[in-house]
Symmetry: C3
Subunit: 159 residues, 3 copies
């Protein structure tokens, strides 16, 4: 897993999980001690970023949730089906890097440049999602930064 940057947001005591060499573990597990007179909790929370550039990261992961950037097609000459396939493949690739996958999607916000593409986008989408594990979703029409893009999808997933 290529993690470009990891930040310790909260850290009391030694970075416990680092000593165990298991960052993924640390990210999800609050480390606890027994409640009582001598209670002393240890925790730290991290943000992981992927493909971090000067403007944005393609994905951030925090507290067991992956926040993906809006994904658009690399090949903007493709039709709506082709662009949707590329977008979904990019989501697959990003989720894999976070140790997640499309069965763990929580929500997708879909922006279509032309709602006339709704059926064609859905046909590709429904082939892609995992039956029984579909995310919450919302689709609206909006112009995108590159006039040749036809669809942009903003995905949120559990990791």
């Amino acid at each position: 897993m290529a993690v470009e940057s990891v930040e310790r947001l909260v850290g009391q005591g030694p970075p416990y999980a680092h000593r165990h060499g298991d960052l993924a573990l640390a990210r999800r597990r609050p480390l606890c001690k027994p409640a009582g007179p001598s209670i002393q909790l240890r925790e730290f929370t991290v943000i992981q970023r992927f493909d971090t550039g000067p403007r944005m990261s393609e994905m951030t992961v925090h507290n067991g949730v992956a926040y993906l950037a809006g994904q658009v097609a690399e090949d903007d000459s493709l039709d709506i089906s082709g662009q949707t396939r590329e977008v979904l493949a990019q989501i697959d690739a990003l989720l894999a890097r976070a140790g997640s996958d499309k069965s763990k999607l929580l929500r997708a916000q879909i922006f279509l440049v032309d709602l006339a593409d709704f059926a064609a986008m859905n046909a590709v989408w429904e082939q892609w999602v995992v039956p029984g594990h579909t995310p919450a979703r919302a689709t609206v029409q909006a112009a995108l930064a590159n006039p040749k893009w036809k669809v942009e999808i903003v995905a949120t997933a559990a990791v």
Copy 2:
């Protein structure tokens, strides 16, 4: 609570909470053992999905947060006030199934087909929200998948 699908994302040891027959409990509580030489943490994280179809779920719940799909009116012949009322009633119904309610809304993204409906939508909205417990909100104009729909609301809430 009708939970259509529950996934164990992380599971070490027996699914502890299941033995206690309290899934809702398990979803929110990391199960911990004392820190120390013999520390051994148990945790599993679940995604719950509601009204899961081949395209989307109407709601997913993960880590104490409910992610609702964009809600639109069942009766698309209604005016903006009527459609807004239907949308908010659907949000109420979904949140109730997750054991939450509108006082726990974290954010609402509102898409209006015509910003001329802003005041009428707000009048219904402000009657609906719980004073002192209003969510973060953003409203923009966007065309929706069904041309008769006038408003779509994407809600996120604590459960």
Copy 3:
């Protein structure tokens, strides 16, 4: 930190952290007791709201995540650069009140009224973000509630 409202969503036993006078601590730390025959977990989850009005709050914080309302310029006579600067300053101010900052942004959804403003908005944005700590981002075109607004940004951050 001005917290307008804090809710105890789940509370078994005395509100532990309150006794220690450290709400921020309580918000992030599940309080645990040893697992075993006598296991008895304590936890409560809170929602914090900031600038809560009858329609919306400017920010809600839950489970270590800040959900900001869509931020728009106070001075709607400014050009895109000026409005973007104002929006980003408002995000800075809100994040500071939650004990966070722009280096902890998880995602930004940007709505531009005119995509012709994309480059000018980005120039201000790229001066503002923290190198190496940029969030996931998505930008689409959408009309906003006030016709003089040129940009609205919906930010999500770790706290």
